[in-house]
């Protein structure tokens, strides 16, 4: 018995909410990155769910693309975090506010 898309969308919505709240309330930059992954994967779930519903494989291909892009994004993001830590000896985003006006 196939899972109806509505359920998938609800899971996706929960996942997105958890990711968004994580981005907004956590100070640790690594956890923020992890939360962004959650948001992206919530989007992937949506793509796959609609792909199955509409019998169109483009959605699933798009999901694979997104995972590849996310991998690249994490690589760059972690490099930035590493550089930040080396220079400022911290991973808390609140302590990095040199752009303050």
């Amino acid at each position: 018995m196939p899972v109806p898309p509505t359920h998938v969308l609800i899971i996706s919505l929960l996942l997105f909410s958890v990711g968004m709240i994580g981005v907004l309330i956590r100070r640790n930059v690594i956890i923020i990155l992890m939360s962004i992954e959650l948001i992206m994967n919530a989007a992937n779930l949506n793509l796959i769910a609609f792909s199955r519903q509409l019998n169109n494989l483009v959605g699933q291909v798009f999901g694979v693309f997104t995972i590849a892009v996310a991998a690249g994004e994490v690589a760059v993001g972690l490099a930035v975090v590493l550089a930040l830590y080396r220079n400022r000896a911290t991973v808390y985003v609140d302590e990095v506010q040199i752009m303050k006006g």
Partner: protein, 694 residues
């Protein structure tokens, strides 16, 4: 030698430059004296050569304008003041030109000859001065010689005027030579004051000279003396009289005539050689010289000549009487000089120009000698000038005594010494003009003989009245001083022989008059009038009679002096006590200085104070008012600038700053707050979209 005419004034100027620039520091003392005397000696030699060749003039000479009839040589050096062309196409201008004629020749010999002797004398007299003062003295003295020679040789009135002012300047500088010393304790006059007095009184005369010169220029269009004289006949007697009187005002200042004589007695503040050179022999005779230079014009102005004669006679008499009671050896001589200058001016006034120049010549000899003798006495007595503190110097200063005696007899008019011939010629010519002049002149001659005898006896005879200290230092002067004395004594003795009048020289003509004849008009216009003609007609015996009479008067004066001061020394005080009022009047020189002080100086000082008040309160007030006005408007302007203009600018800035402060809060630098805003924004946009689309 004629072509070296330009060198005559230049040589002393070179001496002035050398001594003035290098004398005080570089040149040794001997060199200073040598340069000063040497330049004047060279000048004398050149003058002598030029004057000798005046007797046999060449037909032509390069650069010289020769007038054989007038025996006049003019050397034009360059055009000094080119003034363009006149209405008739002739070029107007003033040349720097020198003229040598028999008149300037006489002056030239007097100035350079006597000047040289006095320079030599000064080497000894000023020997005790420190070197800077010594060099300063000789540079001034040389400057004076140059200026005097410019005056004498000047062919045009401006050139003469340059010399005229130049000698005035030197006179001022040399009177004030001891500028840090007191001259007259009684009136508190310093030597510098005396110099100033001389300068200022002379300025009054100079003004007259200048006005006369400009008057003549405006009417004749030329400044050249000969040019003016050539046109004098066309000017008319009125112009000649006015111009003559104006020039005479100048002569009054320079030659110390009433009413401008007051500076000369105070000029004695200068060193004694200066008194001898400037204030006896040369400069003060410049006025007489200029009068004689302009003689052809004066002949056309009988009115002016009458004024000249009266002033001269009055000066001769009054100055002689002022000399009677003076106790300062130099002041006696100063009043004597004023008096003798009065004789010269009287001679000019009666038209006896050559007699004036003749007296100028002999006076230069014996008056220079008297001053130098007085200087020798002062030098020997370490600066004492009061004749009441002298006496008995006859044996102590034999050379000074002997030469002084010669000069005393010469000025008193004892034949055959120089003064006799010149003074008698003046007296005779005065008698021909009017006997009143003769009476005044003879009275003056009597007083001259008296005060000179008094001076001689008080100085050289009788008891020694100076202190032990002075006796200790007493010494006859060095040869550099006694040699000029002897030379001048010889000249004073024989100098008059060049002008022995025809009436007693057994028919030989009067050499001096003959020499000057080409320049000076022999007879003034009035000699053709009735009275003078008869007087001239009966000349021979009358002239000899008057001559004998004047010699008798001179002898009487000497005898009276001898009686009062040698025989009965107690008498003068009793005479003074007996005629106390008269004595005080004469002793105080008729209070002329005091009267001038009250009548001229006091109103003048008042005017000065009023001007000063006006200057301080009105002129300065206006200036300060303008200043305060500017200051006030500046303050207003500053307020406007600071509060309005700057206020607007600052307001703009502050506004920007205020808005920026409000907006800056948004730029927190906190990544999470940016994210929150972004999420909220998306939420709102999505909500709006859904609500409007729904």
């Amino acid at each position: 030698m004629l072509r070296l005419l330009w060198l005559i004034p230049l040589l002393p100027f070179m001496g002035f430059a050398l001594n003035g620039l290098l004398g005080a520091r570089v040149l040794p003392r001997r060199a200073v004296g040598l340069i000063a005397c040497g330049t004047v000696l060279l000048s004398f030699l050149v003058s002598l050569g030029a004057v000798l060749s005046l007797g046999s003039l060449p037909e032509t000479a390069e650069g010289l304008l020769i007038d054989h009839d007038a025996r006049r040589v003019t050397q034009t050096l360059y055009t000094w003041m080119p003034l363009g062309e006149g209405a008739d196409g002739r070029s107007i201008g003033v040349d720097w030109a020198y003229v040598l004629d028999p008149l300037s020749a006489v002056m030239l010999m007097v100035v350079t000859g006597v000047g040289f002797l006095i320079h030599v004398y000064s080497v000894g007299y000023m020997g005790h001065e420190p070197r800077p003062a010594y060099a300063r003295f000789f540079s001034y003295l040389n400057l004076f010689m140059g200026m005097m020679l410019t005056l004498v040789l000047g062919a045009s009135l401006p050139v003469v005027f340059v010399g005229w002012e130049g000698v005035g300047l030197c006179s001022y500088l040399l009177i004030g030579f001891y500028y840090d010393r007191m001259f007259d304790e009684k009136t508190g006059m310093s030597c510098a004051d005396a110099g100033r007095k001389a300068f200022i009184v002379n300025r009054i005369g100079d003004m007259g000279f200048l006005l006369g010169m400009l008057l003549l220029f405006s009417l004749t269009g030329t400044m050249d003396i000969q040019g003016v004289l050539d046109q004098a006949g066309t000017l008319g007697p009125m112009v000649c009289t006015v111009a003559g009187l104006l020039l005479f005002v100048g002569a009054c200042g320079k030659s110390a005539q009433i009413p401008l004589y007051v500076w000369l007695p105070d000029a004695m503040a200068g060193p004694t050689p200066v008194s001898a050179l400037i204030h006896a022999a040369t400069m003060v005779t410049a006025g007489v010289y200029v009068l004689c230079r302009m003689a052809p014009m004066y002949v056309l102005a009988p009115g002016a000549l009458l004024v000249v004669a009266v002033v001269g006679a009055a000066t001769a008499l009054l100055a002689a009487s002022m000399g009677l009671a003076q106790t300062d050896i130099k002041k006696v001589l100063a009043y004597s000089t004023v008096s003798q200058l009065g004789y010269m001016v009287l001679a000019v006034g009666v038209g006896a120009f050559s007699a004036a120049i003749f007296h100028l010549l002999t006076h230069a000899f014996f008056k220079a000698l008297l001053f130098l003798g007085a200087g020798s006495v002062i030098h020997a007595l370490s600066g004492e000038q009061d004749i009441t503190k002298m006496g008995g110097l006859r044996s102590r200063l034999p050379w000074t005594h002997l030469t002084f005696l010669v000069a005393t007899l010469a000025i008193a008019g004892i034949p055959p010494l120089a003064g006799f011939f010149s003074k008698d010629e003046i007296l005779w010519k005065a008698f021909v003009r009017h006997p009143a002049f003769w009476v005044v002149g003879v009275a003056g001659a009597f007083m001259t003989a008296f005060y000179m005898t008094r001076l001689y006896i008080l100085t050289f005879r009788g008891m020694e009245r100076f202190g032990e200290e002075a006796r200790h230092h007493l010494h006859e002067s060095p040869p550099s001083m006694t040699v000029p004395l002897v030379a001048l004594a010889v000249l004073s003795a024989v100098g008059g022989w060049v002008g022995i009048p025809a009436v007693i020289s057994l028919g030989l003509p009067n050499v001096f008059e003959h020499w000057l004849a080409p320049v000076l008009p022999a007879a003034a216009a009035h000699e053709t009038s009735g009275y003078a003609a008869t007087a001239a007609h009966a000349a021979g015996p009358l002239e000899i009679g008057l001559m004998a009479l004047s010699v008798g008067v001179a002898l009487a004066g000497i005898l009276l002096g001898w009686l009062l001061y040698e025989k009965r020394p107690e008498l003068p005080e009793r005479v003074a006590a007996g005629a106390r009022g008269l004595y005080l009047l004469v002793y105080n020189k008729y209070f002329v200085d005091e009267i001038y002080g009250k009548v001229v100086l006091a109103p003048y000082y008042g005017l000065c104070r009023a001007s000063a008040w006006l200057d301080r309160w009105v002129v300065d007030g206006a200036v300060n008012g303008a200043g305060y006005l500017t200051l006030g408007s500046s303050y207003t302007s500053r307020g406007f600038d600071e509060w309005i203009v700057d206020g607007l600018v600052n307001l703009t800035g502050n506004m920007v700053r205020g808005f920026s402060a409000a907006l800056r809060v948004v730029q927190s630098g906190l990544v999470r707050s940016y994210a929150t805003v972004m999420v909220l924004g998306i939420f709102i946009l999505v909500s709006v979209y859904l609500l409007t689309m729904g």
